[in-house]
Symmetry: C2
Subunit: 209 residues, 2 copies
DNA sequence: TATGTTTTGAGAATAATTTAACAAATCATC
DNA sequence: GATGATTTGTTAAATTATTCTCAAAACATA
């Protein structure tokens, strides 16, 4: 039964399904049951069926799921076949590492531009992505469509920079700064990579194992 | 009422409390009630009190919580005052970015060594951390205590490398590869930073806002 | 010291998530 | 085509997480 509002818990599991199905495809597996998929992923078959049923009926009784088809469906739900446009603010060590290594195109994103305050990098390009000065941000966004902004900047300027971008109509932020960003507009979405938070939970778990 | 087993949901909120309390300290705030803390963090006062009560009674009726004291308690729970030892496997763009930027010491970790397969980096040092050849891993771990290993290596060698380290007694992994790692030993803890998963959930949310 | 206010921690109630159960549909084989 | 084995999608039950409520404790002020 297709649901109207999908819970966050379900959404956060989708990418993992997508990865597993990509792997199954690569291994040449044609079909799979919720039971065996669950075994591979170490989750219950019930949860898998429940999760998928939020979006439609992708399986067939007595048969299971067609791997390639299911992968395409979930990829579509996640938007990997979209043409999302992304820019990066902050071309320091982390920003550069992402530009060089992260497979943006595989997730449906094209990286169109980067911005930085440092005159040392402005004018250069990293992995084919041109680096502009922060002053050019407004005029750039007026001319180009921007779906997501990657924030790889210092904490201290994170919220101000976000505000400036929200003002310009951006509503997707991939936030690598270790602060909580917010907007009064509920349509503005923040996705955080909080390195420190992550390491601290590990610290807790190894101490309390 | 102190709890025996703390749920993952609670643990994952602790670092955020810690951050907020650090900020309050810096702002010179001496005491705070669950209500106003909740307002600042956009969560309910109930949840805050419930969360804290898992670990003890840190507040005082009619007064609230002493900010500095509470910060210290949560820091202690998370282990920021521990002397955890950490090594990094894989000194590529991402590994280098972390070594240069991430404040390991603030989270109770000291980075003692890094390892890589590339002869181009072996023998060098990044931000004071010496880079050794992968062949030296076994002898290094025999001589030094290692609590956590940061995996910033290609997916393809992630599980094998983890296995090799688990064999050597390591039971904490900060995993930056986009694969799910596992061990039959439940005392081995994996904390994942799955960049692609994170961006995909954002992709979903901006498309379905 | 008495009085009204604030605020916690705990228990109860509610909400959300996960797991179990099962009818209905398909498959595989005789 | 009939029969038994699979496997789904859905509903129900169980579990987990969050929010509400309130007595008890401490504070603030007179």
């Amino acid at each position: 039964m297709k649901k109207e509002n999908i819970s966050d818990a379900v959404i956060r599991r989708l990418p993992r399904y997508y990865r597993q199905l990509t792997d199954l495809c690569a291994r040449g597996v044609v079909r799979i049951s919720s039971h065996s998929l669950g075994q591979e992923m170490n989750i219950t078959a019930s949860q898998i069926r429940q999760d998928f049923s939020c979006f439609g009926e992708f399986g067939q009784q007595g048969y299971g799921y067609n791997v390639e088809e299911l992968r395409a469906e979930i990829g579509h739900i996640l938007g990997v076949d979209n043409d999302h446009h992304l820019i990066m603010i902050g071309v320091g060590n982390l920003g550069r590492a992402l530009l060089r290594n992260f497979p943006f195109s595989q997730t449906g994103f094209s990286v169109d531009a980067a911005f930085d305050v440092s005159t040392a990098v402005v004018g250069s390009s990293v992995n084919g992505v041109p680096v502009y000065a922060m002053e050019e941000l407004e005029s750039y966004i007026e001319k180009h469509s921007v779906d997501v902004v990657v924030l790889t900047i210092p904490q201290s300027v994170a919220q101000d920079t976000a505000n400036r971008l929200i003002e310009l109509g951006v509503h997707g932020f991939w936030n690598f700064t270790n602060v909580e960003l917010s907007s009064s507009n509920p349509d503005v979405k923040f996705e955080n990579i909080h390195f420190a938070d992550s390491l601290l939970t590990l610290s807790y778990r190894i101490a309390n194992r």
